[in-house]
Amino acid sequence: MSLAITLATARRIMTQLRHDRRTVALMVLVPTLVMILLYYVMDDERAFGHWSPILLCVFPFLVMFLITSIGTLRERTSGTLERLMAMPLGRLDLLLGYGLAFGLAACVQVALALAVSLTWLGLDLPGPLWPLVLVALLNALLGTALGLLCSAFARTEFQAVQFMPIVMIPQILLGGILVPRGQMATVLDWISNVLPMSYAIEAMAHAVADTDPGGEFWRDVVVVAGSAVLALLLGAATLRRRTS
């Protein structure tokens, strides 16, 4: 592993994004636009207060998952991955480079969505802002890491995009958004316990509701961060120097 190579990789990925303005515009604007739509659909401050943090949780994850899985799939099919694997680049250099570049992109995404929610849409936070930003960012990293991992199992872009609902929908259904986790059948509750999104959603709930997020918030944060690291390491294991 080398810091210089990791940073060069992150810079390269951001340059690629810079050349693709439409993607950047979509990435930055869509969560905010959906937030505004949600506000007018709910037409109720309390319901909006309940749903908006969930969106802030889901969006960075969703977008980063999609972009990363397509991005790494492109590296595999274009031969650039093979070229890099023949060079003195560590596998984690590549993965952390992606994590860093898309983490920064997620920061911009969340910053705008938050700014609009807190000002125009009147989202009220009793406590500080940073727990919310932290959770959103961790979710983006988790999405990036899982996207990298899933792209190893996709041969085509068609397959890659379909991993999104597979990874996303069960986590949303079981994450306690629609039905509180405690009210689910025992087996479903167990499954819910091993899905990282459940902890991300819980952490986000603490971040918006608590004046001073404490022990439970930190436990959730550690679980989400740990899942991201685990997915990143598994992703690294799927990158092979030698292929058939």
Binding site: H19, G79, R83, P88, R242, S244
Partner: protein, 242 residues
């Protein structure tokens, strides 16, 4: 420490299977240092697979490949080998210069290396062009430029002259010979026989086996023909008769 007279590449009984079928059937040969060695043969004969094994990105089922005194795929070799694949492995959504700057950073090559290699492959004029807007020949040269970064001791080039006009092809061959004179070992594949005459040594491959491993002159003499295309045909006949 290794001797300069040691071969740059030594392959012994190399076997590779892909998709259940064996594509390289126990190859044994050496590539001398500081020369341009041509790897010739029709499409599908195993040239690319062999090159991948030398670079160390191919899973092999048997045999030994030693490159610059180390087993192929060793960490230490990653800075010493320049590899360009047949389909140009560059980022299409970056400019040529951005591509080179990134790969130079990964290799730890000098800051001015991107400009140097661009000039060497004659792409200076396209430095600020997005790779996706390049022609096929330009893309190929961009891929070749990446392989030249950091002045590697061994260049493994898979069909670098495909789709180029005769002037550019001539220029690239001049470049290869200049690099070889400077001590670089070059292994270059081609399916065009007329390029064979430009190599100092030829390895002719067909259906995963070596048909010939000699100098172009000796090959012409052996097959009693001046035309290398003809020589290739005679080698196949010879093999069939044996």
């Amino acid at each position: 420490m290794m001797n300069l007279s040691d071969p740059a590449i030594a392959v012994r009984d190399l076997r590779v299977a892909r998709g259940g079928a064996e594509v390289l059937h126990g190859l044994t040969f050496e590539v001398p240092r500081g020369q341009v060695t041509g790897l010739l043969g029709p499409s599908g004969c195993g040239k690319t697979t062999l090159m991948r094994a030398i670079v160390g990105v191919q899973i092999v089922s048997g045999g030994e490949v030693s490159v610059l005194g180390e087993p192929a795929g060793s960490t230490g070799l990653r800075r010493r080998i320049g590899y360009s694949t047949q389909s140009p492995a560059v980022y299409r959504d970056l400019t040529v210069l951005e591509n080179l700057r990134y790969f130079a950073a990964v290799l730890g090559a000098p800051k001015d290396d991107p400009e140097r290699v661009l000039a060497e492959v004659g792409l200076t004029g396209a430095a600020y062009q997005l790779a996706s807007t390049l022609s096929g020949g330009q893309l190929g040269r961009a891929g070749l430029a990446v392989a030249l970064l950091g002045r590697p001791e061994l260049l493994v080039l898979d069909e670098p002259t495909v789709g180029l006009d005769p002037v550019l092809r001539q220029e690239l061959w001049t470049l290869f010979h200049r690099l070889a004179e400077g001590g670089t070992t070059i292994l270059v594949s081609s399916h065009v026989m007329d390029e064979a005459a430009r190599c100092e040594r030829l390895i002719v491959l067909r259906e995963g086996e070596i048909l010939a491993d000699d100098t172009p002159g000796a090959l012409r003499e052996h097959t009693r023909t001046t035309d290398l295309e003809e020589a290739f045909l005679r080698l196949i006949e010879e093999r069939a008769a044996a």
